[in-house]
């Protein structure tokens, strides 16, 4: 399923003017502080209204300024996982996972919870079902948040800094898990990160945002070979020599 976001928006001091697109599997968005990464995700999710442009996912138009289309967040089929995962603190892991509107249309609580439990099982965290978010580690929260997002079977998944709240060892395992999951399922998704190791793990097209605009796009190898700014050069400076499979990406 292809998706395209071509929007202009003014959010406080930030003026966003971007044209980003993707297909099956994730894309990675990088950029310095204030580049507009989180704002881009929130605009796609429907938190703010762009001043112009169009957002489409597959055959569905989520926003079209010219045609006056502006679907509310609950009708976009775009799941958003913010920094820190945004688990609901008053619900246990299972009720968090079963919170959304079930794609199967199940409305009774028992069926929804059973479906959510199956999803937690797939993500190897069914044992956390009864635990409250405050009792979960960063990696566990990440998995529960992902289960909650996947429960609604979104057309597009938005992950804002999914690994930033984790310690080093949790980062490694969750990074591997997330990359495998998103790549294997071919789920359209946008992953915002500030860590070059995440970019390498996802092995996905990289888009660089700077001051609200797309500065550069390409594979990690292409960006490392020809960085368009000091930020991109510094970002990939920390990377080890890229494996050949990434060079051909």
């Amino acid at each position: 399923m292809n998706w395209q976001v071509r929007i202009e928006a003014r959010l406080g001091e930030l003026r966003l003017d971007v044209d980003v697109s993707g297909g099956a599997g994730p894309i990675v968005v990088i950029g310095g502080n204030g580049a507009g990464k989180t704002s881009l995700l929130r605009l796609i999710a429907g938190a703010h209204r762009p001043s112009s442009g169009r957002i489409s996912v597959g055959a569905r138009t989520l926003f079209d300024a010219e045609r006056g289309v502006d679907l509310p967040p609950e009708h976009r089929r775009v799941a958003y996982v913010p920094q820190g995962y945004g688990l609901f603190p008053h619900l246990n892991a299972l009720d968090n996972a079963a919170f959304g509107r079930s794609p199967g249309g199940a409305t009774d609580r028992a069926t929804r919870r059973r479906e959510a439990l199956e999803l937690l099982e797939q993500l190897d965290c069914a044992h956390l079902a009864k635990r409250m978010p405050s009792g979960l580690s960063g990696g566990e929260r990440q998995r529960v948040a992902l289960a909650r997002a996947l429960f609604v079977d979104p057309d597009l998944l938005l992950l804002d800094e999914p690994l930033s709240a984790l310690d080093a060892s949790a980062r490694r395992s969750v990074r591997r898990f997330l990359a495998e999951h998103l790549m294997r399922r071919g789920r359209p998704s946008i992953v915002v990160t500030h860590d070059v190791r995440d970019v390498l793990a996802f092995d996905a097209p990289v888009w660089v945002l700077e001051a609200g605009r797309v500065l550069q796009r390409g594979s990690a190898a292409e960006l490392q070979a020809a960085p368009a700014s000091a930020f991109v050069a510094e970002f990939f400076d920390a990377a080890p020599a890229l494996p050949s499979r990434l060079r051909s990406a």
Binding site: G46, P73, H75, F88, F99, R101, R131, V152
Partner: protein, 279 residues
């Protein structure tokens, strides 16, 4: 500072603190020992008491419902809005705390009185508010509103607005996100604010006396009944006072325990749904 000053502070500060503490506790002690159980029982049996208690309970419950229904969305807007208007509204809503209750009574008369701002219009549709039970409720709503609104707005400010966006991206409507995410997270603050507002409404005296009068069965609440009883039968006044104090103590203890009780589930382990047997 000199050593003599330090020593002076060391002696005077505790003395002043103890004096203040005594001033707060002695009247309560005085109240507690001023009547025998038999006198209290007689006071409770007095017809004035039951009528006033019934009116107080009914009017404070109605005023609390009005406050919660209207105040909860208003408090959420105050917490979420960054507009200058919201800040101004916040200041205006705090006015009943600093304005004397008697002034609020006069203001209500000037608004709803027969010759007040809305009086003629209300009379046109056959309504006369002053010196009725409705006036009691209105006075209670106005004086207690800031206590609920302040607590509710503070509670809603602790709710990460991103959580509401997350809920909506999961297919939940705006109203659904409010009731399923914002309200449960803010619940301890909402409940303690409601309890404080209820206590304030229960103790309301000045605005009610001026706007609703002191009519038995119609506007004579517990606080006003104490005022009336003192002139005729002090035992009834003491009995009512002790009942009000008991309610206040229970409320205060509940408030202190409330956050822990409401968030016990944060540490507890809610039960999983029972798995249906295989067919």
């Amino acid at each position: 500072m000199s050593r003599a000053f330090d020593n002076g502070v060391r002696v005077v500060a505790p003395a002043l603190s103890l004096t203040l503490l005594a001033l707060l506790l002695l009247p309560l002690a005085g109240l507690a020992v001023s009547s025998s159980p038999a006198q209290i029982a007689a006071g409770i049996d007095h017809p004035l008491f039951a009528e006033a208690l019934s009116l107080s309970v009914r009017t404070t419950l109605v005023s609390l419902c009005i406050l919660v229904l209207g105040g909860t969305p208003l408090a959420f807007w105050l917490s979420a809005s960054r507009s200058r208007l919201a800040r101004w509204v916040e200041v205006v809503l705090d006015l009943p705390i600093v304005v004397p209750p008697a002034v609020i009574g006069v203001a209500l008369l000037q608004t709803f009185g027969n010759r007040g701002l809305l009086g003629p219009a209300l009379q046109g549709i056959g309504l006369s508010v002053p010196f009725t039970t409705t006036a009691v409720v209105l006075a209670q709503v106005v004086v207690s509103a800031p206590f609920y609104l302040q607590a509710a707005a503070t509670a809603f400010r602790s709710v990460d607005l991103d959580l509401l966006l997350v809920a909506r991206t999961l297919g939940i409507s705006e109203a659904g996100a409010f009731f399923r995410v914002a309200v449960p997270i803010a619940l301890p603050g909402l409940v303690s604010g409601a309890a404080l507002a209820w206590a304030r409404a229960l103790g309301e005296f000045g605005a009610t006396l001026l706007f609703a009068g002191n009519l038995p069965g119609r506007s004579q609440t517990l606080s006003l009944a104490i005022y009336t009883a003192l002139e005729a039968d002090a035992d009834v006044a003491v009995a009512i006072s002790l009942v009000l104090t008991s309610i206040a103590v229970v409320l205060l203890l509940s408030l202190r325990r409330l956050p822990a009780l409401l968030w016990r589930r944060d540490r507890g382990e809610p039960a999983l749904p029972r798995r249906e047997p295989a067919r």
